[in-house]
């Protein structure tokens, strides 16, 4: 599904990813943990195609295709989705309008026509209900004045609508209250399937009680420095990153 090989990337003159390798097979959930500033968000932005970064070495294959050559929207319609750590505000554009435009862009890429209004309304209503999102919120401009938790739920809502085959969730659990955490985790779990994979970036082992990962990795100073099963997260919770970070140095 996704193969990252020896990825090196820099911003300005600073190298942030320094030879990162990661393979995610269909149906797998991988958790990435690691200290602040390690490069987790950088990795997710590079996968999604943000052009602030310069990839100096390595490749990223999604279903065998090197996506680094593709535009962000092409990657999205090819099935890649990033739930942003800091979702962006778009004043004046109702969330509903935004969702519909995104959904239609995906349909267009598949050669389908626009979704009809009744179908869209039904879909939105069902999806919002599952994620405990009020219809009122969807009338408001995208992320404008949303609370931290609302923004995160809105990201999951988008994911649920677009049904990506490969999703990266960048600290989607940060800022969620306990109930919302369960709702979001249920939302993700509902999407889990043998042909869909997830990379879940988090600082908290607690999330992994709800979204149980197949693998846990430690990303430090631009590389994966340790990998293991879900018990690795428990170990990190207890002992911190100290042991791994030193290994990396």
């Amino acid at each position: 599904m996704l193969e990252i090989k020896n990825l090196h990337a820099r911003i300005d003159d600073r190298e942030i990813l320094k030879g990162l390798d990661l393979t995610v097979n269909p149906g797998e959930v991988h958790a990435i943990m690691g200290p602040n500033g390690a490069g987790k968000s950088t990795l997710s932005y590079i996968l999604a195609g943000k052009d602030d970064y310069e990839v100096t070495e390595g490749e990223v294959l999604l279903n065998g295709v090197n996506i680094l050559e593709m535009e962000p929207n092409e990657r999205a319609t090819a099935g890649l989705f990033l739930a942003f750590q800091y979702p962006i505000e778009i004043p004046g554009v109702a969330s509903m309008t935004f969702l519909r435009a995104a959904l239609n862009a995906h349909r267009k890429a598949r050669g389908e026509g626009d979704i009809t209004t009744p179908d869209f309304m039904r879909l939105i209503k069902d999806t919002a209900a599952k994620l405990n999102i009020s219809p009122e919120m969807l009338k408001r401009p995208v992320n404008v004045g949303f609370s931290g938790g609302e923004k995160k739920r809105n990201e999951v809502m988008q994911m649920a609508l677009l049904q990506p085959s490969f999703a990266i969730l960048d600290e989607t659990d940060s800022g969620l209250d306990i109930d919302a955490l369960k709702v979001v985790a249920d939302g993700v779990n509902a999407l889990r399937s043998p042909d869909r994979s997830f990379v879940v970036i988090t600082h908290y082992q607690r999330l992994l009680n709800y979204i149980v990962p197949d693998f846990v990795h430690v990303l430090s100073a631009g590389r994966i420095v340790a990998s293991g099963g879900k018990e690795l997260a428990l170990d990190l919770e207890k002992n911190g990153y100290a042991g791994y970070v030193q290994d990396a140095a």
Partner: protein
């Protein structure tokens, strides 16, 4: 959830061809000789079988115009116009005057069909649920003449007069004589004076006392012939306690040379009357290099003559190589209200200098200005607005909000507000912002699958939302698409 409201927001179905109204209709035309002199003015007046007083009125304006100089204060730049190198009158031969639909040249009907303008008088399907389509009466002006006006009979039942100004001169001379030039005098400014001398056609509307006009009225202006100028003249009178909503649309063929369009629009609202005037201006803007396009030099003014009267201008300006236009309100009646809602989009090498004037004369007069300027490509976009409070305008209030959005870094947006107050009790508020579509916003949209131009159209439609909502429902979806189309090629 109000489904209707949300379905309007369909921005994704944007057409690929940029200016799709750029075609030319092969039709035999009658042209006045090139150039402008007293004989040409008489020629136009004679063509229209005008009464003596109007011929004289025109000639007086022409003489005045010869003593005037072109204004240069606007932030626009263009080579000098050779006013002798234009045809001042062009009319399709087969349709000398407004007739019934059956008599209109089929080629013209096809043209309007191609422009997406319904000239058929669709009957309401009585008894069929959900079939109550909104109906719009249309006056279709082709080059210098009105070729047809629809729904005239039905409007007449309510006492509403909706016809071409040429017909009004013949059929309702007392109204025309009373109001023509009463808001924009023949001496007003260079282009308005020129218009007074050579005006060709345009619409005339009279709404009688206490009548709420039963349908939207609209005029579609089409320039077809080359080397012509279009000088339309529109006059709308809302008598006491009446209401009318009127919309004008404009298109022209794509051509390499520039064409002049100098219109005058006059609105009069008497006591308790309300006029809502909307414009979707989509004249040919020229190509990306700035070749060709319409010079849109327009004088639009509304006179809130009566107490509690209201005039509201809404404009969506996407076309023209140069736009020079300041729809204004004279708030003469006590408690009268003026509104100006504007979306002005410039792309390529377009130049826009547009805004409004709110002249507060009466007591407790209020005005509101909401302007959204969007500059893309290498264009220049200026808001120029005057709020003037007269000595007697006790209790006057104005609120102005001007937002500019820049797309790319080769364009410019400018805000030039003038405030003149002679009454200490007046409250004038002005807000202005300038923003850019941020890289983060673009990336966010793209990461959800939207293409760059779709993303821009979405964000821009969000930016102009408040103003868009002022348009009559029937025109909102089309206008949103138009906004998307006019921004094509604005990136990269």
């Amino acid at each position: 959830m109000p489904a209707v409201q949300e379905t309007i927001e369909q921005v994704s179905a944007i057409d690929v061809d940029k200016y799709k109204y750029g075609f030319f209709t092969e039709i035999e035309s009658e042209l006045s000789p090139k150039g402008l002199n007293e004989d040409i003015v008489r020629y136009i007046s004679a063509k229209k079988n005008e009464p003596e007083w109007l011929t004289e009125w025109r000639l007086e304006a022409f003489r005045r115009w010869q003593t005037m100089a072109e204004p240069t204060w606007a932030r626009v730049d263009y080579p000098p116009i050779d006013f002798q190198d234009l045809h001042y009158y062009a009319a399709p031969k087969k349709t000398p005057g407004p007739k019934s639909l059956d008599e209109v040249d089929p080629e013209l009907l096809r043209t309007y069909e191609k422009l997406g303008i319904p000239l058929r008088e669709q009957e309401l399907l009585a008894g069929v649920e959900g079939a109550a389509q909104p109906r719009v009466a249309v006056d279709a002006v082709f080059d210098s003449v009105s070729v047809v006006t629809t729904f005239k009979k039905e409007l007449a039942k309510h006492g509403v007069i909706f016809c071409s100004i040429s017909e009004a001169v013949r059929e309702h001379p007392e109204l025309v004589k009373k109001y023509l030039g009463s808001v924009v005098p023949t001496t007003d400014n260079y282009y308005a004076t020129l218009n007074s001398a050579v005006f060709s056609d345009g619409s005339f509307v009279y709404i009688p006392k206490g009548v709420r006009c039963p349908m939207e009225l609209s005029t579609y202006f089409r320039i077809n012939e080359k080397n012509t100028g279009q000088f339309e003249r529109t006059l709308i009178i809302a008598d006491e306690g009446s209401y009318v909503s009127y919309l004008e649309g404009c298109t022209a063929p794509s051509r390499d040379e520039n064409q002049l369009h100098a219109a005058v629009v006059e609105l009069v609202a008497l006591d308790d009357a309300e006029i809502k005037y909307s414009t979707v201006q989509n004249w040919y803007p020229g190509d990306a290099e700035g070749k060709g396009g319409i010079y849109n030099f327009v004088t639009k003014r509304g006179d809130c003559r009566g107490r509690n009267s209201k005039i509201s201008w809404t404009q969506v300006e996407t076309g023209s190589a140069i736009t020079w236009k300041y729809p204004s309100c004279i708030l003469r009646g006590d408690n009268s209200r003026g509104e100006f809602y504007s979306i002005a989009i410039s792309n390529g090498k377009q130049q826009v200098d547009s805004g409004t004037k709110m002249i507060h004369l009466g007591k407790n007069t209020t005005s509101k200005i909401i302007s959204k300027g969007i500059a893309a490509g290498k264009s220049d976009n200026t808001y120029r607005g005057l709020v003037q409070i007269g000595r007697k305008a006790t209790g006057a209030r104005n609120f102005t909000n001007c937002d500019s959005l820049l797309i790319g870094n080769k364009c410019g947006a400018h805000t030039v507000p003038y405030i003149e107050s002679k009454n200490a009790s007046a409250v004038v508020e002005h807000e202005a912002t300038t923003s850019k579509i941020s890289d983060d916003q673009m990336f966010y949209c793209l990461s959800r699958g939207l293409g760059e131009e779709e993303a821009i159209a979405l964000i821009v439609n969000g930016f102009v939302r408040d103003v868009l909502q002022q348009l009559p429902m029937e025109f909102m979806v089309e206008t949103q698409k138009l906004i998307g189309i006019s921004l094509e090629g604005s990136v990269g």
